[in-house]
């Protein structure tokens, strides 16, 4: 069942709700860090969050950012609601960094709190970190890498790894999936506890791809950071770059020329096309349907050729820069783009018909990995995973950026909530992307494609969200007036979706884990940064 064009419920005014409930105990700054920033003292962040959750069911945590503010550690809660994007600021002193957890109000905040604990040393009472979450087991105790006083070259690793929990004896068997596994392109470990063939628990261990990008970004200039942030993920690279660049432009208050906005949209949608085709093919590989994988990737190659045509490189297009795009689209390339897209559009009914009618796909994907709408809302999932469960969030529609406000397109929502629905969402989004690119090419404005932006960014901070192929991608940049950023925080969509996988895998067969896993479109290089 599809619902299209759900308008968001913007009748609730969150700012009013907070001001009514909490009166003078918190300070509301409109227009800062989203729609409004709410400054709280210790403990009151829970009250604010509870007020938001009670007022709007679509309240969800996008990210929790840690900051090193000298004597204090800042904790920023970034919340998205149907009325806009808000940030709650809280601070804790460094010598006693304790703050109450919010996981009982919003269960989807678990991973975010654990990460801030691991990297900054903040203790969330009620959600304490056992061992390490993102860092390796060789990491020495008591050193928090993202604090300003820690230098990367001075860290000595602990030669003795911390004890990992031993599996319990008995009928249950603990299978470790990963780090090296043919099903996964990337290393990560899932300890799956099975009883016979039914899964009872899944425990993840992420951090194998943690390269310390956020810390590295603080020692490189903004332009160098564009290339660094782009390499968070090879699949959604353009979108990472676009997110970061838009955030910096918000601090600079630079207005990007209209032609650049349309060119950015074309690059972003090409990226979305190749990413979705990749996932759809990968799903075929996971369910053993290798021919489907080969066909999808064969049809993905023309898109890679287009990316190479427009930017010069097959994977890392590096088109984004602060102030616009680096290269213009030549008029001689437009016919090639159009013919390739027309060819791809002709092939889509064939694939749709496979997904609708092929019994092996239906058997392995329908009713597998059920995620009900309430769970999707509570766990704060994003992207096709949310849209496959009936939650209609799409940053391109909720908070249009670039030229998305001027381009008509449909928001794809399915209500079944299983693996099959999520794959169908992606299939339909492929068609929508083709429509968007064609519209953008036809309505490409003339003018400059880049404005010169200053290299030194004034003091300020900004948040930005874009819609990556996997969901909502969030970036927070804080600048201190020098050529180097003070803090760069990126929250990737897969990071928000993994708790959903942990929940949907329980009660299923082992054989259902790969299709379930692929349907949430995991990208662990995004997750670990």
């Amino acid at each position: 069942m599809r619902r299209q064009n759900q308008t968001s419920n913007s009748k609730i005014d969150i700012v009013n709700v907070i001001e009514n409930k909490l009166k003078d105990r918190v300070q509301v700054q409109l227009g800062q860090l989203g729609k409004a920033a709410i400054i709280t003292n210790n403990g009151l962040h829970r009250n604010v969050l509870k007020a938001m959750v009670d007022a709007d069911e679509k309240t969800a945590i996008t990210a929790i950012t840690g900051l090193d503010l000298g004597t204090n550690l800042g904790v920023l809660y970034h919340i998205r609601t149907s009325n806009g994007f808000f940030t709650i600021r809280a601070e804790v002193p460094k010598d006693n960094p304790k703050i109450k957890t919010v996981t009982d109000i919003i269960p989807g905040a678990v991973f975010h709190e654990l990460e801030v604990s691991d990297l900054f040393g903040v203790v969330f009472e009620g959600n304490e970190l056992q061992g390490h979450f993102v860092l390796s087991e060789y990491w020495p105790e008591g050193i928090y890498p993202l604090r300003k006083d820690v230098k990367a070259s001075e860290i000595k690793l602990n030669p003795q790894p911390q004890e990992e929990k031993q599996p319990e004896a008995g009928r249950v068997v603990k299978i470790i999936i990963g780090p090296q596994h043919p099903a996964l392109l990337e290393p990560e470990k899932f300890a799956v506890t099975v009883d016979g063939e039914t899964v009872t628990k899944v425990e993840p261990r992420i951090g194998y791809v943690h390269r310390g990008i956020e810390k590295a970004a603080e020692s490189r200039t903004y332009l160098q950071d564009v290339y660094l942030v782009e390499r968070i993920c090879g699949i959604c690279n353009t979108i990472h770059a676009c997110d970061f660049v838009e955030c910096v432009e918000k601090i600079l208050k630079t207005e990007v020329p209209p032609r650049a906005k349309y060119l950015r949209v074309i690059a972003l949608e090409l990226n979305r096309l190749h990413s979705h085709l990749l996932t759809l093919g990968h799903a075929g590989l996971e369910i053993g349907y290798e021919t489907l994988f080969q066909y999808f990737w064969r049809d993905r190659e023309p898109i890679m050729n287009l990316i190479e045509l427009t930017s010069g490189n097959r994977v890392y297009s590096s088109l984004m820069t602060v102030g616009g795009v680096r290269r213009d689209l030549r008029d001689s390339d437009i016919p090639t783009i159009k013919t390739t897209l027309v060819d791809l559009r002709k092939k889509l009914p064939f694939y749709r018909q496979i997904y609708e009618n092929e019994p092996s796909i239906r058997a392995r994907m329908q009713n597998v990995g059920m995620l009900k709408r309430e769970d999707a809302l509570k766990l704060c999932v994003v992207g096709p995973v949310a849209r496959g469960s009936g939650v209609n969030i799409d940053v391109r529609k909720d908070e249009p950026y670039e030229a998305y406000g001027e381009i008509p397109f449909k928001e794809i929502v399915y209500t079944e909530g299983d693996t099959w629905a999520r794959m169908n969402v992606r299939m339909d989004e492929v068609e929508e992307s083709i429509n968007i690119i064609e519209y953008a090419i036809d309505h490409l404005p003339t003018g400059p494609f880049r404005v010169k932006a200053p290299r030194v960014v004034p003091v300020g901070e900004a948040v930005n969200r874009v819609e990556a192929p996997r969901g909502e991608l969030f970036c927070y940049v804080k600048s201190n007036g020098t050529a180097f950023p003070e803090r760069v925080k990126v929250r990737t969509p897969t990071y928000a979706n993994i708790p959903a996988f942990l929940k949907t895998a329980i009660g299923e067969n082992i054989a259902d884990i790969p299709p379930n896993f692929v349907s949430l479109d995991p990208c662990f290089s995004c997750t670990d940064r």
Partner: protein, 270 residues
């Protein structure tokens, strides 16, 4: 007195060498067809059109270092692949290929049951080889192999008895010789069901669950390297040849029949 003719029959045709070459050829056919269905070309470099690719794989595996993990059950781990391969080849030796089988000219009454039993023992040894590996993936993979072949063994036995009933004898020779009209026309349902059951026994698609790489890594072969892995692979391929040969003998008239030997092999490759 040494019977040179017998030795030649055992070693070259229709014995060991012929079976080995046929197995490698069937593997090549399978890889080429798979590739073509996926819009690719398949092996091309080893030999003309990639014909020697399976041979290259086999020789390469034989020359790899042999690793024995510490916790395996040594005897089973080391000998099960080789014994499984030997038993399968031995089973094929009973099938009349060019009018007379390798080992005897007329066979004996009941050799149909004997070779089906050999096939079961070989499958069981495959399962044991995975079980002895002490690796969680091998355990799950071999458990799946056991479930699959146990499930389909009984239907194969019963369906193989259909031509026996029509011919009135349990000897393969008698069944093959009695087919003036090939039994595929007299018992078409049995033929179709036998093909399906054989497909499941051989773990070919759509019954290739034990081979699902995405869940169980290598399945029962995960811990094997070198020569033992070569023999495991070869056992699987020889089972395909065995299944094809059995179908020809039972339903298509054997050496006297009109249809040539390769057609079922071609089918199983798919």
């Amino acid at each position: 007195m040494i019977d040179f003719d017998l030795i030649l029959r055992i070693l070259i045709f229709p014995g060991f060498t012929f079976i080995l070459l046929l197995t490698l050829f069937c593997d090549w056919v399978e890889r080429k067809i798979d590739a073509r269905l996926q819009n690719r070309v398949g092996p091309m470099v080893a030999g003309p059109g990639g014909l020697f690719q399976p041979l290259a794989d086999f020789v390469k595996l034989l020359t790899k270092e042999d690793i024995e993990p510490r916790n395996v059950k040594k005897v089973i781990f080391n000998f099960a692949p080789l014994i499984a391969f030997t038993i399968m080849v031995f089973a094929i030796c009973f099938l009349p290929i060019d009018g007379a089988s390798v080992l005897s000219t007329t066979g004996f009454n009941g050799d149909l049951i004997v070779i089906l039993t050999f096939s079961t023992i070989a499958s069981f040894l495959l399962f044991l080889s995975g079980w002895a590996s002490c690796n969680p993936y091998s355990t799950i993979g071999s458990a799946r192999v056991l479930t699959q072949f146990l499930g389909y063994d009984i239907p194969i036995f019963m369906l193989a008895l259909t031509p026996a009933f029509i011919a009135g004898s349990l000897s393969i020779f008698a069944i093959a010789s009695a087919q003036t009209i090939p039994y595929i026309l007299l018992a078409p349902y049995a033929f179709v069901l036998f093909m399906i059951a054989m497909q499941a026994e051989l773990e070919k698609g759509p019954f290739d669950v034990p081979d699902a790489e995405s869940e169980v890594v290598g399945g029962l072969e995960t811990e094997y390297t070198g020569a033992k892995l070569a023999f495991l692979h070869l056992t699987r391929d020889v089972q395909v040849v065995f299944g094809a040969a059995l179908v020809v003998e039972l339903f298509l008239g054997g050496p006297h029949g009109p249809v040539f030997f390769g057609l079922p092999a071609f089918w199983y490759s798919l």
